[in-house]
Amino acid sequence: MATKQERFHHLVNSILKLNLNITRRTIPYEGGRLAVLYIKQLTDTKQLSENVIRPLVSASPKICLTAELAMNRFLYAADCSIKKNTAKIVDSILSGQTVILFSTDTAYLTVNLQKIERRTIPTPEIEFALRAGRDSFIENLDTNISLIRYRIKDKNLRIKMLEAGKRTKTRIAIIYLEDVANDTVVSELEKRIERIDVDGVVESGELQSLLLNNRNNLFPQMGLVERSDMACRLLLSGRVITLVEGSGLGLSAPAAFIEFFYSCDDLYENRFFGLFMRIIRYISAFTTLTASSVYVALTSFHTDAMPADYAILLAEMNSRVPFPSVVGAFLLEFLIEVIRESLLRVPRHIGSAIGIVGAIVIGQAAISAGLFSPLMLIIASVSLLTSFVAADYTLANSFRILKFMLLIITGFFGFYGFTLFLCLILSALVSLNSFGVPYMAPFAPFNLYDFIRGFIDNTAMSPLRMKYLRTKDNRRKKRQTKSKNAGSSWQQ
């Protein structure tokens, strides 16, 4: 039977043999020795030296150390614990913990001295707002949680930590307000995360696709959250936020179609301005989807729907274009998508050059060369601009794909195909749900109160939460009872 010493040596050697770039520091003590195992790149070595190694070395050599004794008497680390399961030693080291093994004790210590290089809190890049906090999430999960915690000081704020990815062991935090969020959504989300069986999850987008109930679905079913203030607003409204270690974007669930048109500004600005901007966004989304197709339908099929003088002007403009309208529209939309994609992929200082080339090539040269009609160019540009108006770009992405499909169908069947395809999109939308919440709520199923609160009014001012979210606590602010003696203080 192996002695404790032999077992200790075997264990340390077996860990080091794994070639995981683990550093070992051995310290002798009375009747044995201890091994401090850590990964240099993930550990704050200064703290390790000062708060762990120094007190252990300076301890009386006559003391026979155990894990419990070391933790209670010598270590100055704030976050440390005693563990016995040796199978998890490697995992602990890989997650950035420092592990201390004792030759005279079967238990071992894990000390959290993680030091991960991180960015400072950046300003938002995809969820820009004029009148909102500037702090947004970064790739560090703890920092992101702290950003939420410092805004919501409620004892009912729950943070459930889960893990996904066999190799990455990515930490995932499910954050919600216990007395507000719908339990079904929380448990469903938890269940789906636990069900994930992949080698790794490195970004929230990856998690999002793994959480979808139908992977062939084109429309996003979880909202993206970059701003911590927006995350808090969503939590207060009864939604569940999912943060992924290593991702600067959180996910919110459930997400209805209408919510993709909300911006932080809507909540912080005047209610009428918020409504005005939402209407602009809806019109823009519809324009993104339909502008080119309407142009094709009007110029190729239903020309009599145009005013006569404009029909002549359009015929003049198109007289030099060699393609039918549908081909011209398709080519131009394709070209614009190419420019958009190239601008995203190249360094910024080259991007502006590509933008200029794109503008000149498409804007001027293509028209002079008679490749496209000027009106088509205007329509495609408007379609591009309107695609940027949606508060959540993931929805705009769906519309970009649908735009091409709609264009092709309209090119074949005119307004008949156009209408039919829009009906198909609508029927697809109404048949969707996001974690049990109808995707088109409050339009379908129609709920007047939610419609007024969610579409017309400012949700920040509403005393009630959205009904379709089926929150535990529907009321945001207490009902104000009118005192019989209201104003009596003035009379007294």
């Binding site: 020309t303 003049e316 039918p324 028209i367």
Partner: protein, 378 residues
């Protein structure tokens, strides 16, 4: 099973799309012969179509459009029948004919003199035309008519704009081709069509062609314009200049109310037309411009009333005695009140014999109301 059902539905929908006729008729607007004016004439017993076609390719596309370039081309085609003439047009066109941009249909008096039923029926059956397209007549030579703007501007657009601005100014009743077709198909068919003539380098309406039983029966000159529009426009506004002693008052007269009351007694049709006018002193050549002197109030009102009645009666007399044609649609009012009697009698015969009475009320500046009772036309 659900997926199979879905697939069947999808295939069904697409099959339906493919099978629905008219879905494959894509034709770009630049590959169409866009007609803006259609003129129909009759020469030597043959129908002749003159069409003004937008010359979209000669305008240079997007750049370098010259203001001197001919923007329209006139194409002429003739045939013994309308269909034959139209075939002649088709044979000359580079692209399929596009009729939705036609702004004006011009019929020469030669055509209207005969029978326009065939042509109106043709328009009725042709869905390519907008039924809102306007219809005018002319006595001008077609070639000269299309040369007024040297083919740089559309004749059809110009005519339409003249009529539109007159309608907007309450100087004319809007009558589209669709309305003419409606009247033509009703039991009593009579209407007036604005007649245009060349005036220098422009066009003007010089009167109305009167159509009865779908044939031209006469021409009403501009002199009767006031009476005509008081009888059939919605809210006409006309300026009258009324002299009183040494002062001439320019008065804007607005029709506030017109009520047509038909009566039928002992086989005699009589129609009482009540008018209420608002009159507003616009200005005068007197020192106190815009104000009606106390002493002038009664004489001015009397003279204005006489002028109005003269115009209305003149229009009625022309309609009833000269043209024997009820183009003021009194028949509708009679039919509404006496449907059975209307079916029994012939309005073509009854109208010329009908008693027409005119009653007018004028309110000047809303200060006083003058009522001069009922007057009967001899």
């Amino acid at each position: 099973m659900i997926m199979v059902k879905k697939a069947i539905y999808m295939v069904g929908i697409f099959a339906l799309m493919l099978s629905v006729s008219g879905c494959w008729d894509a034709n770009d607007i630049n590959e169409a012969s866009i007609l803006t004016t259609v003129l129909l004439d009759k020469q030597d017993g043959e129908y002749v179509f003159y069409v003004e076609v937008a010359n979209t390719e000669a305008s240079g596309g997007t750049e370098g459009q010259s203001t001197q370039a001919e923007k329209f081309v006139i194409v002429k085609a003739s045939g013994k029948t309308l269909a034959e003439a139209r075939e002649g047009l088709n044979r000359q066109m580079r692209y399929p004919i596009y009729l939705s941009a036609v702004r004006a249909l011009v019929l020469t008096r030669n055509v209207v003199k005969e029978d326009i039923t065939t042509y109106l029926n043709r328009l009725r059956s042709n869905n390519d035309y907008r039924k809102k397209v306007i219809l005018v007549t002319t006595n001008e030579k077609p070639e000269e008519l299309f040369e007024v703007f040297k083919k740089r501007e559309s004749v059809g657009f110009y005519i339409e704009q003249i009529l539109e601005q007159l309608v907007a100014a309450n100087q004319l009743t809007r009558r589209t081709t669709g309305r003419y077709i409606e009247i033509m198909t009703s039991s009593y068919s009579s209407f007036i069509i604005p007649n245009i003539r060349i005036n220098g380098e422009a066009f003007e309406i010089d009167g109305f062609s009167v159509v009865l039983r779908n044939k031209l029966v006469g021409f009403v000159p501009n002199a009767e314009w006031n009476g005509i529009i008081f009888l059939n426009a919605k809210r006409p506004e006309i300026n009258y200049v009324i002299p009183s002693d040494e002062v001439e008052y320019t008065i804007l007269v607005t029709l506030k109310k017109r009520k047509v009351e038909p009566y039928y007694k002992n086989g005699q049709v009589s129609i009482k037309i009540r008018f209420v006018f608002d009159a507003e002193i616009e200005y005068s050549n007197g020192n106190d411009s815009g104000r009606l002197a106390e002493k002038d109030k009664k004489p001015v009102a009397e003279k204005l009333k006489k002028a109005l009645e003269r115009d209305i009666k003149s229009a009625l007399e022309t309609s009833q005695k000269e043209m024997k044609s009820d183009y003021f649609d009194f028949n509708n009012a009679f039919y509404m009140k006496y449907p059975r009697q209307y079916r029994e009698l012939s309005w073509y015969e009854a109208y010329p014999k009908a008693k027409l009475e005119v009653e007018t009320k004028i309110r000047i500046d809303e200060l006083e109301i003058f009522d001069y009772g009922t007057h009967e036309i001899e």
